[in-house]
Amino acid sequence: MQLRPLAVCAIVFFTAGLAVSSFAGFREFIPGLLQGAAVTIQITVGGCILAMVMALIAAMAKMYGPLPLRWLAVAYIEVFRGTSALVQLFWLFFVLPHFGILLDPLTVAITALGLNVGAYGAEVVRGAVNAVPRGQWEASVALNMPRALSLRRIILPQAFVAMIPPWGNLFIELLKATALVSLITISDLTFKAQQMNQTTFRTVEIFTIVLVVYLALSVLITVGTRTLETFAARGIARGR
């Protein structure tokens, strides 16, 4: 993702949004939208953590697990990559209560999005682990390291560096997917926007501000990923 055009258009949109809304009394929208943004951030962070955990577990199970576990991992990855995030969200929200599992909407949201992105992440982890040169495995065998130890100490730290850019993209996908949770009655940014739109009819201002907020959060993720990337790459360079 290129940063400069993004920053340019962020500024253009922000000033345009400000210009449109300054004479429309947009201050009244700000507190509500900030509350919504806080929920959006909460779900994004929760979903990211769950996604990373699930991705690591699923990738390890698919690559090194015993056969039944491997099938389970493949099924998980294919099902969550093969169906829509919205269908998964609705499925957890409407169907689980029939089985007597009552979760509050926020938990459902974090679970559904985390599992969805985790399935994509599992393939990222797998690709990154496979991209570590075979010689590293052979060297660990020569040094008489057990498989688990060489995976943990040698392979995964190197794979981690290759994983950062695709994970950055997945986090942005997750952020964008959090807009869906407004459809299961969570008052995130999108929900607040719709609510305010129905009460104030200031459609243009509200949706422009919301777009800018999402853009700002995306840019934040991009900048964070870039920083982590240079930081991690420096570690590798020193190690070599």
Binding site: L6, V8, C9, G82, S84, V95, L183, T203
Partner: protein
């Protein structure tokens, strides 16, 4: 009783009818995305600074914001400027716009992979930029990126349930209506999930076929084995 087969047979015809709308939205949205993506990719390669920066900024902006908000924006905000669109049209435009900006990156990769010598040869033969693009560059740039475009077709297909948010009667919306009529959500939503899974797996297999076919033909232009 968690799963009622009688109910499943009862709602299947309704869901199948709704799946037609889903497939329509997918195909129309992707047709728009394919054309728009190419236009954006070419604009982004423009030598005029402000054109390429505007196109790049537009693509990054669309890619960084949720498609649901874009759907709402087109459906709720455009009428303020006098552009009133039916829900289906607004949804298709939003999906086409969103995936068009993804596709533009794919096209750009394809266009940049065409060797520079092809451009130089076209200049040497005194071909106009339009002819160069149409007859020399695009025929070489598109086939290698078809599988990547196919992946976005599947991704777009999986985003169509979002149209239920603006009350397009596609698969998800129909399932929700069926669920609210009978208070049984298990069957309709599971069936919808199953439909998407099956369609995505078939599409993924088909894309793999296309990929192997293209790899074969691209390595042997003219079809010689």
């Amino acid at each position: 009783m968690f799963w009622d087969w009688n109910y499943v047979w009862e709602i299947t015809p309704t869901l199948l009818r709704a799946s037609v709308v889903t497939i329509q939205a997918t195909l129309l949205g992707f047709a728009l995305a394919a054309v728009l993506g190419l236009v954006l990719a070419i604009l982004r390669m423009s030598k005029t600074g402000w054109i390429s920066v505007t196109a790049a900024g537009f693509v990054e902006f669309i890619r960084s914001t949720p498609v649901l908000i874009q759907i709402f924006f087109i459906f709720f905000v455009f009428p303020e400027f006098g552009v009133v669109l039916p829900a289906m049209t607004a949804g298709v435009i939003a999906l086409g716009l969103h995936y068009g900006s993804y596709c533009s990156e794919v096209y750009r990769a394809g266009l940049e992979n065409v060797p520079r010598g092809q451009w130089e040869a076209s200049t040497a033969l005194n071909l106009s930029p339009y002819i160069t693009f149409r007859d020399i560059i695009i025929p070489q740039a598109i086939p290698p990126v078809v599988p990547a475009l196919g992946n976005y077709l599947v991704a777009l297909f999986k985003e169509t349930p979002l149209l239920s948010a603006i009350a397009v009667l596609e698969l998800m919306q129909t399932a929700k209506i069926l669920g609210s009529q009978s208070f049984r959500y298990v069957e309709p939503i599971t069936l919808v999930g199953g439909f998407f899974l099956v369609m995505s797996l078939i599409a993924a297999a088909f894309i793999r076929q296309v990929e192997t076919y293209l790899n074969r033909t691209l390595r042997n232009p003219g079809g010689a084995r």
